[in-house]
């Protein structure tokens, strides 16, 4: 359960779909991504809200040429020059998903939902090719789950079983991604003994967490 970042990401294989937590840099598991770059797996599909900021973290993984496709809601930011360059050079695929649909498609994967109807995107270019249905007079689009082979998330504190608590808005995609991957790896600032987290405040129960990596901040 408690491993080094290097050991934790050794499970990632070429061609895997990797869910990466974080909203901008808040909740971004930077040390796990650095370990993934070292590990060397390539041809990856990355699912994350953004497509990398600056030159570190996800941007560094992209720059290393390890990513075939990005699934995200907002790739275009003032400091997303790495993605911009790859995209304009035709060296990376992009699937843009509205942020709420991205979260709900991950949630559906973790909850065993086969597909669901969402009102988001009706009448927009993102509805093209999607099955639609009118329910109680309102139009919806059929959306499918997004499953990960591996999820890389950052939480605040874990106990030795893998129960997780988060900190402020760094929580963001962590709890849903933890449920949506075959293997979930959590980078945390601190690991505490079993029994020292109040069960009432645990956000991600240990059942969803396979490996924890302590990186003091």
């Amino acid at each position: 359960m408690i491993v080094s970042a290097e050991d934790a990401v050794s499970v990632v294989k070429d061609g895997d779909t990797v869910l990466v937590g974080g909203f901008g840099m808040a909740g971004m598991p930077v040390d796990l991504i650095d370990a993934l770059i070292e590990h060397g797996a390539g041809d990856l599909t990355i699912v994350s809200n953004n497509a990398g900021n600056g030159d570190t973290g996800l941007a560094a993984l992209l720059a290393a040429g390890r990513v075939r496709k990005v699934v995200c809601s907002f790739p275009r930011q003032s400091d997303s020059w790495v993605f911009d360059g790859l995209y304009r050079a035709g060296r990376i695929e992009l699937e843009v998903v509205p942020q709420g649909n991205l979260a709900e498609r991950l949630r559906a994967a973790g909850a065993g939902i086969g597909a669901f109807f969402s009102p988001t995107g009706v009448g927009t270019p993102l509805a093209e090719g999607k099955e639609s249905r009118v329910i109680d007079g309102r139009e919806y689009l059929l959306e499918y789950p997004i499953r990960g082979d591996v999820a890389l998330i950052r939480a605040h504190v874990a106990d030795r079983m893998g129960n997780l608590v988060y900190r402020k808005t760094a929580r963001n995609f962590g709890p849903v991604m933890a449920t949506a991957a075959a293997v979930t790896i959590a980078q945390v600032s601190r690991i505490v003994e079993v029994g020292s987290l109040d069960p009432e405040v645990v956000v991600t129960p240990a059942i969803y967490v396979n490996r924890i990596v302590e990186v003091p901040r």
């Binding site: 907002f74 709420g100 009448g123 808005t169 849903v176």
Partner: protein, 213 residues
């Protein structure tokens, strides 16, 4: 005189009901927070997982784990709560959020919103939470200049830019007039430094004058 951005923000703030749960979009809508009365009871939602967002953080208050949707450091107010992304967007889609305020490239007479893409072939598509907010919030207020830099109106019979949401906008706050999108047409609520006749001429589509005009 047409309105400054601050004056527009003040007018939008005035129209937000006391106690409302409100999402302020990135950019100009963020300024609305400066004009909310402290005793209004308005609670700000940020889609990255927080209710009860406070003012921007400065100095020692800056915490990389506490940001708004624009990824700027912010503060938390008493009564704040944090939640994950699926819950945050369920709040919108589920009809729990009272008002969302966004910028726009175009708004149509039927309340269609276009604010995520100009459709330019070389643009990198990026939508963020705009489509979810557009169809989720009970009311969508738009803040924008009424005319683009080339003078063309941004309030149009039909949007030519790709849509963000269909029939979702209820009010449009601009530098020269405030509009309400209603079933029988677009009503002019208030004008600023422009006559109703000139407004109708420059917008180039039918507008319903306010009853008190």
């Amino acid at each position: 005189m047409s309105l400054s951005r601050e004056q527009m923000a003040e007018i939008v703030a005035r129209d937000i009901p006391d106690g409302a749960y409100v999402n302020l979009g990135i950019g100009q809508p963020t300024m609305v927070a400066d004009f909310l009365r402290p005793d209004s009871g308005v609670v700000l939602h940020t889609e990255n997982g927080m209710l009860g967002m406070g003012r921007p953080a400065t100095g020692d208050e800056i915490d990389p784990d506490l940001t708004n949707a624009g990824k700027q450091p912010v503060t938390e107010l008493p009564g704040a709560s944090y939640f994950h992304h699926a819950d945050s967007f369920a709040m919108m889609r589920g009809g729990h959020l009272d008002v969302c305020i966004m910028g726009a490239f175009q708004v149509s007479a039927g309340g269609d919103l276009a604010n995520w893409s100009t459709g330019a072939p070389d643009a990198i598509p990026a939508v963020g939470g705009a489509m979810d907010l557009a169809i989720g919030a009970k009311q969508v207020f738009v803040m924008m200049s009424l005319f683009a830099k080339d003078g063309r109106p941004k309030l149009v019979p039909e949007c030519t830019y790709p849509l963000t949401g269909r029939g979702c906008v209820s009010r449009v706050y601009t530098d020269v007039a405030t509009f309400a999108v209603e079933p029988d047409g677009v009503r002019v609520v208030e004008t600023f430094g422009i006559s109703i006749d000139e407004l109708i001429t420059r917008v180039g589509m039918p507008l319903v004058p306010s009853s008190f005009d």
